[in-house]
């Protein structure tokens, strides 16, 4: 579990490559790319989209190993869906396995879903996941996401690490009392008490946070410090991405017409 925490960007800010690109631009690009991606139907266009996402991952310095592991974990979730689809979609028979007939249409649909989901999540990790959570909050604020939601995001990311430590402490205390998880009601009850205790402590902690904030003049408003300006390089990024997206749409349109 420690490999997942704290919530931190896989890549580093200011690590060269494209990492200096304006975060607002990255969020908007990720959103547009995702919408276009899920609308594509041609496998060739989708392969190109996945290649584009891989290029983004390289450009934003996503480390190959951990990224591949995370993608594999996501693919594991949808494995059954992908395997079952060829056999459940009616259409032209392709091959028969244990008395079940796979259809070309089903296989195509499964491949579409696999390509779409991987392309989108990879582009999100590359474009948005490489921004630090604090910068992400500021950028969302600049994009007119409601302030309360931005502040909730900032508080949540700020305290996930703290509460992870608290969880580790409580688990250590349980282990010191010879607790070992098993398939017993005792285990589930103990985990329930653990979660309940974490919530109680979290509420007490939030009271202390609130008092400390009031001490420093908190009046219900939070200020976002970051100021963003589109630089010369950002416009080049817009141009390249725009051309890439147009090319994707062009390929899709051309293949549909053909």
């Amino acid at each position: 579990m420690s490999s997942v925490f704290p919530v931190s960007a896989l890549g580093r800010e200011g690590a060269g490559g494209l990492s200096a690109t304006d975060p607002r631009l990255r969020i908007v690009t990720a959103a547009i790319f995702a919408v276009i991606c899920v609308s594509l139907t041609s496998l060739i266009a989708l392969l190109l989209a996945l290649a584009g996402a891989v290029a983004l991952a390289a450009g934003f310095n996503l480390p190959a190993g951990p990224t591949a592991r995370r993608m594999a974990a996501m693919d594991g979730f949808i494995l059954f869906l992908l395997i079952s689809l060829p056999f459940t979609v009616p259409g032209a028979p392709l091959f028969t396995l244990w008395g079940l007939t796979a259809s070309l249409e089903g296989l195509t649909l499964a491949m579409q879903i696999a390509l779409k989901s991987n392309a989108v999540i990879l582009s999100v990790m590359a474009l948005v996941g490489t921004v630090s959570p604090v910068t992400l909050g500021s950028a969302l604020h600049a994009l007119h996401v409601p302030g309360a939601l931005v502040h909730l995001l900032l508080f949540t990311t700020r305290y996930i690490g703290v509460l992870q430590d608290e969880y580790a402490r409580l688990r250590l205390a349980m282990r010191a009392r010879a607790f070992r998880p098993a398939n017993t009601l005792h285990t589930y009850r103990s985990f329930g008490y653990l979660v309940g205790m974490m919530l109680i402590r979290a509420l007490d902690r939030s009271d202390r946070i609130m008092e400390a904030m009031k001490c420093r003049g908190f009046d219900g408003r939070l200020h976002v410090m970051a100021r963003f300006r589109l630089a010369y390089a950002d416009w080049i990024f817009v141009g390249v991405i725009g051309l890439g997206l147009l090319a994707l749409i062009g390929v899709e349109w051309w293949l549909r017409a053909a």
């Binding site: 995370r70 996501m74 305290y159 109680i200 939030s206």
Partner: protein
């Protein structure tokens, strides 16, 4: 509980997004600015708790605890879930982007349903009885979540029915675990901090 991009029909994605935006807006209205720290810390707690793996049979499952989250957070569970899903998509590569709305709905809708149905009973009943209601809420939230996932998938076509059936079956053991866990958590919270369910009334009302 992660539906990925590309697996759902476009109308499902659009409808899910619209409903999720409405839920999040309602949730944000219920959080006065000075309760944002408390909501954030609780949201972070549920985020951490959802990474706990609990043994089930030969395998293990990670907790979801959306029933408990609904009981504690009220409508604020919508923005809290959305924030959690954004973090998971961007930093852990789980879930997706166009499906953020649908996934928010899948987790938060059962949570708020449990909240509306059981919160009053849980804050009023003596702790052992509250624990039983808590267990009912924990199980109901998972059952509803599994049904929402299955529904969202099958709306895309009959071809998704086997996958939807698998989702339903896979959640049966999770339901039992979450019931026991939620019941125990509610029991402890009612004993240790009886007022815990009261300050949230302002948020939830």
């Amino acid at each position: 509980m992660h539906i990925v991009d590309g697996a759902l029909a476009a109308p499902v994605v659009v409808a899910g997004t619209v409903l999720a935006v409405a839920g999040v807006a309602r949730g944000l209205r219920d959080i006065p600015l000075e309760r944002i720290p408390a909501t954030g810390v609780l949201a972070a707690t549920f985020f951490v708790a959802s990474l706990i793996h609990v043994p089930v049979g030969p395998s293990s499952v990670h907790l979801m605890l959306n029933g408990l989250a609904g009981l504690v957070l009220g409508w604020a569970v919508f923005p809290a879930v959305l924030v959690g899903l954004i973090l998971q998509a961007a930093f852990f590569g789980f879930g997706g982007l166009t499906v953020l709305g649908v996934n928010t709905l899948i987790v938060a809708l059962p949570a708020i349903a449990v909240h509306l149905a059981l919160r009053r009973a849980i804050s009023a009943a003596p702790p052992p009885k509250a624990a039983i209601w808590g267990a009912v809420g924990g199980a109901a939230a998972i059952a509803l979540t599994a049904c929402c996932v299955a529904l969202a998938l099958t709306l895309g076509g009959d071809a998704f029915i086997p996958a939807a059936q698998l989702v339903l079956i896979a959640h049966l053991p999770v339901m039992l675990v979450e019931a026991a866990l939620t019941g125990a958590a509610i029991y402890l919270m009612r004993l240790v901090k009886p007022e815990l369910f009261h300050p949230m009334v302002r948020v939830a009302a």
